[in-house]
Symmetry: C2
Amino acid sequence: MTVLSLPPLDLDAAGGVGEEDSPLRSVATAVAVLDCFADEAELGATRVATRLGIAKSTACRMLAALATGGLLERTGSGRYRLGLRLFEYGQLAVDRLMLRDVALPAMGELRELLRETIQLGVVVGTDVLYVERAEAATMNVRFRSEHRRNPAHSSSAGRVLAAADPALVTAILERGLQRYTPFTVVDPLRYRQILASTREQGYATAREEFEPGWSSIAAPITLTRGGRPHPVAALSVVAPTSRILGPRKPAVVQGVRRAAARVSADLERARS
Amino acid sequence: MTVLSLPPLDLDAAGGVGEEDSPLRSVATAVAVLDCFADEAELGATRVATRLGIAKSTACRMLAALATGGLLERTGSGRYRLGLRLFEYGQLAVDRLMLRDVALPAMGELRELLRETIQLGVVVGTDVLYVERAEAATMNVRFRSEHRRNPAHSSSAGRVLAAADPALVTAILERGLQRYTPFTVVDPLRYRQILASTREQGYATAREEFEPGWSSIAAPITLTRGGRPHPVAALSVVAPTSRILGPRKPAVVQGVRRAAARVSADLERARS
DNA sequence: GCCCGCGTTCCGGTGTGCGGAACGCTGCTG
DNA sequence: CAGCAGCGTTCCGCACACCGGAACGCGGGC
């Protein structure tokens, strides 16, 4: 089994529902129906039909079929909601990367060492998706679903992953460096400079570039492929700025780099 | 928005792939294709075709359609694997229960108090599915995907949930009390006695009934519906037997009951 | 370099999913 | 209390999109 062959960054997946010209029209619309539930928690047949521009009867059949398959569940009032089977599939998808299990011990130790929240992120499209998180001592309700994915250019994890992947860099630049805070780096030239220094130093930082007050430091988890180490994921420490970019910064950098290196080694050994 | 209306325990979902007589045949087979990946990490068109008894060309089209939808990803050698989009959908499905976010703080505090692993479980079919886990101090690699779901009859969480749900009890008994360890309760009469005492005491225990050496204590998270409190989830402490069923048992019971009661109250308030 | 196995593509017939309209139902509202 | 409006669901006939079999291109392996 190949260990975590990085998905070839499907750019089209970033867009909206759109009209797929693929075969299996009904399956494509079924997936589009699922996508509708990314925005809203509960949907009925009429909403789905109008959103997708299909007949109401078609939407109803799609919803029923997805519900019998377990991908959707019926709420009391005839509407539908994402099903828990999707949770199981999603956990399996992450487990199959053979990354989380390898990284968990190191993440727990790093959390204990720094007493901060540790994140494990991979690239999907031009975003970083966090597939595991070791919360600081008291589990922080601040980290919710909306913090499970963020644009690669404004996060330290995205930088260590882009630093070694020119195709990802061009994809990020094509999409545009959107500004989220006054500190967000939006100049392509400056962004490339940051990536260059990331390559040199072996870690990346992001100072309040996505959410005011919160910064992060990340180091790459690599896998030697074709003789050269290739980043496949990133370990990042996220905390209020003063706690990791102040006097503690050297300790945090050393800690996250060591943890990422250990995960890389374990991942290499797990490649049986 | 209704908060966590318990899914009506789809019994058929427990079975294998099977032939659905529902409309939208292609969507049904697409779901069946997804189900194939519950067992194996990577699959090609031929394997899928033989497993489902469909033509190889059909399987190929299904795989391609699911891949363009992001539910599957292509691995290097033309085979397929569950896609990370499923992870996002799955996280959304759990978030929409408005249960995890409410329970996280209490779980973190209980973990700190007991220094043991805390699990948050819900019922799906006749199994308990754990949708969140607060690991003990060092994140334990022992808890992996195979520990994300287990039969309701052999877990403490399943008992507090079955204690107030006669329909679930009959479903569990119909399925049969499978033996996993020498301690597993497999006598229906004894099982009903245990449920009765669970109702009285307000918590449940399971002593090495699923995995030798590991036991658990659970308390119900309830939501008043129709004037009466109704369990919708369970908080459980899982640890080596001596650490929770020995002298510490009273403290553990009190801790998990208090935490579950707090989550219940918060959940009630969140029902705006 | 041969062969076997894979994933993919092509093509025609047919059965299946599409859309529009009609049906119960619930929960508003005048 | 009755009317209505909106919902999810069902029915039905036509068209077309999907299924299966066979052919293609490619890669790995005794």
